[in-house]
């Protein structure tokens, strides 16, 4: 029997307005083992903590229950306070009478009764708590960044600047990501490549940064501080050490019909290619799908012209295994598929393009060398219509329920750039709302209207119909004028919704990092821990966490780097002592627990046991407590009740249930 103290927090009026805290104190005093109970307006304050410490010492308490907010908020606070007063921190239990009680109830009578019941359950549990001791694990002082866009590059640079080794794994042949595909950037209109390429060069040149381009994460095991990652280096068929990047192979390659991924399929590239001129590394890859040599065995022109002898058709994929202390996900985004949006005629007319495609059209290195022209006939457009929210804010099966956030600003940018360079072109923007929160953002949009004469119409477009004369009929609403507009356009640009890059779900699964219904990675806390995944040691950078523009991405990338640095700066981590253990007398070695364990923490060994005087060797489960994260899946799965979780034992949980049902 423990000597237990109960501390009931008012949380200002958060709890006290709905729960009669005095009555809770008086009622719990009657519980078995409770030798002390008191209430206080803010138990988490220094004065509140001092109260707890004093009671522990004076009353010689063996366990305490704090009735307050969620343990996610202040469990650590109270555990530390107890530890300072000489009590094992795992002898502290929290009864959540705020989120689970006062905030969700209106009736004081009922809420008070529930608060007492929750306190009683926690008291019952403390009686069975034991003095757990955390272990220690070492930290591998190396970070992995998955994704080599601006988010990944910035995170890697910041980590490397602090002196730690960083590897960037990028699935395409070059780092640079989406930002390398953009022409200009809002709200300053500076050239995207001009500000990105110096960072790419910095990353490549940094002695602490190692690039794995054309590579993908194959598998992840381990835990915070001790991840082990298999990386697949896809065969480039070009020796990175020998290639001089002269580009002759690309020039001579006879197969030039593959769609250029970098130019969003608007033009073609050779089978051996670097995605763009400033690619890093400047080493091409051979696309086996379109290479004549790979398909027929004949050709081999690139090998013949390569003076460095860098072409190697026999190259194979290579798996590299590396250890990391922290992993940053920076996998970025893509635009959604528009097959479901037949009304915009995207698949019917080459003159209906997405905004990202327009970036390539406007760019000097793009399919039209930067000339604004219709992709169907190369003619200069006179009338361009932009349609906002294509697939964004769509609560149906076709689109995404969220605002893609960047479209209002890039459309204002496109409209402005077109009006600036081609003043005779009329630009109309159909919008639902113009959302421009951000420094100098609304001013930017107003400039498009006031200085550049862009015609903004409040209302969505219902349909775009290609006409026999090659033009496009746009039928839309003008809600402010109360009109249905039918207008002719030469080009239509769709502000297409963005979504997380396709492979992110696979990566999240490997990392056991949680992901939401839209495939965005979930933060540990939406406000207070926005760059951390709930999975320890996994951090989030850029659009993989939610839509954001370049300045926000760079800020978040830096924040993620700081969290990584904070982790890597530690030599050792305290491990959670609430791990599973197997009772060798009950275990029958069935392997069910091993199959459900997401951390690979359970193994088996043959052990000699003495079962009621019978000595025999049995195959029993053994938990590696360094790997176990205390999720409890094995305890539920175990058919013989041999698996138990320290700190959350079956007995403790049943005692809580009994106390609630009493």
């Amino acid at each position: 029997m423990q000597r237990i103290g109960v501390f009931v927090c008012h949380c200002g009026s958060n709890i006290a307005a709905t729960v009669d805290v005095k009555r809770v104190v008086e009622t719990v005093k009657k519980e078995q083992g409770v030798v002390h109970a008191e209430d206080y307006p803010y138990m988490c304050s220094e004065a509140g903590q001092a109260l707890i410490a004093a009671a522990i010492k004076e009353k010689n308490l063996g366990g305490i229950v704090v009735c307050s907010c969620s343990p996610r908020m202040h469990e650590a606070t109270f555990r530390k306070a107890a530890e300072r007063a000489g009590l094992n921190p795992y002898m502290v239990e929290i009864a959540n009478i705020r989120e689970h009680c006062s905030w969700i109830h209106k009736d004081m009578e009922e809420a008070t009764e529930k608060a007492v019941i929750l306190a009683r359950a926690a008291i019952a549990k403390v009686h069975l708590n034991s003095h757990l001791q955390p272990g220690e694990s070492l930290v591998t002082k190396r970070a992995l960044v998955i994704g080599g866009g601006i988010a990944g590059i910035q995170t890697a640079l910041d980590i490397a600047e602090a002196g730690y080794e960083v590897d960037i794994v990028e699935k395409t042949p070059s780092i640079g990501g989406r930002m390398s595909q953009l022409d200009k950037t809002f709200p300053t209109l500076d050239c995207s490549a001009c500000i990105l390429t110096p960072k790419m060069v910095d990353a490549a040149a940094h002695e602490k940064i190692n690039l794995y381009t054309y590579s993908e994460v194959e598998s992840v095991s381990g835990f915070v501080g001790n991840f082990s990652v298999d990386i697949r280096k896809k065969a480039r068929f070009v020796d990175m050490n020998k290639c001089t990047g002269c580009g002759l192979c690309q020039e001579k390659c006879p197969s030039k019909k593959a769609k250029s991924e970098f130019n969003r399929g608007l033009n073609t590239r050779s089978a051996i290619y670097t995605p763009f001129a400033q690619a890093i590394p400047n080493v091409p890859v051979i696309d086996t799908e379109s290479c004549v040599k790979m398909k027929t065995g004949k050709c081999g022109l690139c090998e013949k012209v390569c003076q460095a002898g860098a072409i190697d058709y026999s190259q194979k994929d290579e798996i590299i295994t590396e250890k990391y202390g922290a992993i940053v996900v920076a996998t970025g985004f893509d635009t959604i598929n528009l097959d479901q949006y037949g009304e915009y005629a995207y698949n019917e007319s080459p003159d209906v393009i997405t905004s990202l495609e327009l970036e390539r059209v406007m760019n000097a290195a793009g399919p039209t060398k930067g000339h604004l022209e219709r992709l169907s006939d190369g003619k200069a457009p006179k009338e361009i219509v932009f349609i906002q929210c294509v697939g964004s804010r769509c609560d149906d099966h076709r689109g995404k329920p969220y605002c893609s956030k960047i479209c209002c600003m890039y459309t204002a940018k496109h409209a402005m750039l077109i009006r600036d360079k081609y003043p005779d072109v009329n630009v109309t923007v159909f919008y639902i709302d113009v959302r421009t929160p951000g420094k100098n953002f609304d001013e930017f949009y107003r400039r498009a209207v006031e200085e550049y004469g862009v015609n903004y119409i409040k209302g969505q477009v219902g349909k775009v119909v290609p006409q026999p004369d090659g033009s496009l009929l746009v039928q839309g609403s003008d809600l402010l004028d109360g009109k249905q507009i039918k207008m002719r356009a030469d080009m239509v640009v769709l502000a297409t919704a963005i979504e997380p890059e396709a492979g992110v779900r696979k990566i999240a699964t490997m990392l056991t990092a949680s992901i939401d219904t839209n495939n965005f990675l979930t933060e540990a806390h939406p406000k207070l821990r926005p760059v951390e995944s709930p999975t320890a040691g996994v951090f989030l950078s850029g659009v993989c966490q939610g839509p954001k523009d370049i300045p926000e991405t760079v800020s978040q990338a830096g924040a993620a780097a700081v969290k990584v640095i904070g982790l890597l700066a530690k030599d050792k981590l305290l491990t959670n002592p609430c791990t599973a253990e197997s009772d060798t007398l009950l275990c029958n070695g069935c392997s069910v627990c091993q199959n459900v364990c997401p951390y690979g923490a359970i193994g088996y060994e043959d052990k000699e046991v003495n079962d009621h005087g019978i000595r025999e060797t049995r195959r029993v489960a053994v938990v590696n407590s360094a790997l176990c994260q205390g999720c409890g899946a094995c305890t539920v799965a175990c058919p013989s009740g041999a698996m138990d979780l320290k700190g959350f034992s079956n007995r403790q949980i049943l005692a809580e249930v009994d106390a609630i049902c009493r």
Binding site: R393, Q460, G462, K463, Q475, S477, Q484
Partner: protein, 128 residues
Amino acid sequence: MSKHDAEMIREISGVNPLKCMKCGKCSATCPAYDEMDIKPHQFVSYVLRGDIEALADSKSLWKCLSCFACIERCPRNVEPAKLIDAARQAVIRQRGNEADLSPDEIPALLDEKTPQQLLVSAFRRYRR
């Protein structure tokens, strides 16, 4: 017609007009727009306000072609054509039916490919 009818229209249609974000895509897409006095996107706010009297007297009720383009394209699943159809039904229930199309004539007009829903709403429309 009363406030109560607004409830009924919501119930018959299964539409929650609060989901509307006023993008105007229904009115942008509507082929009968020019003939309507209350436009499809306005229809939603009339139901929301409970201004059913005006709806019941509106030409739009009988001008909607039930082509369902607005249902197909509404990004918020508000589906104005369902509201309009429900309003027709409410009006017919209360004011009776003055239409000259009788159910006996329907089979001759049938096309196997015609969706049943279209038939039902067209029938309501032309029975006026």
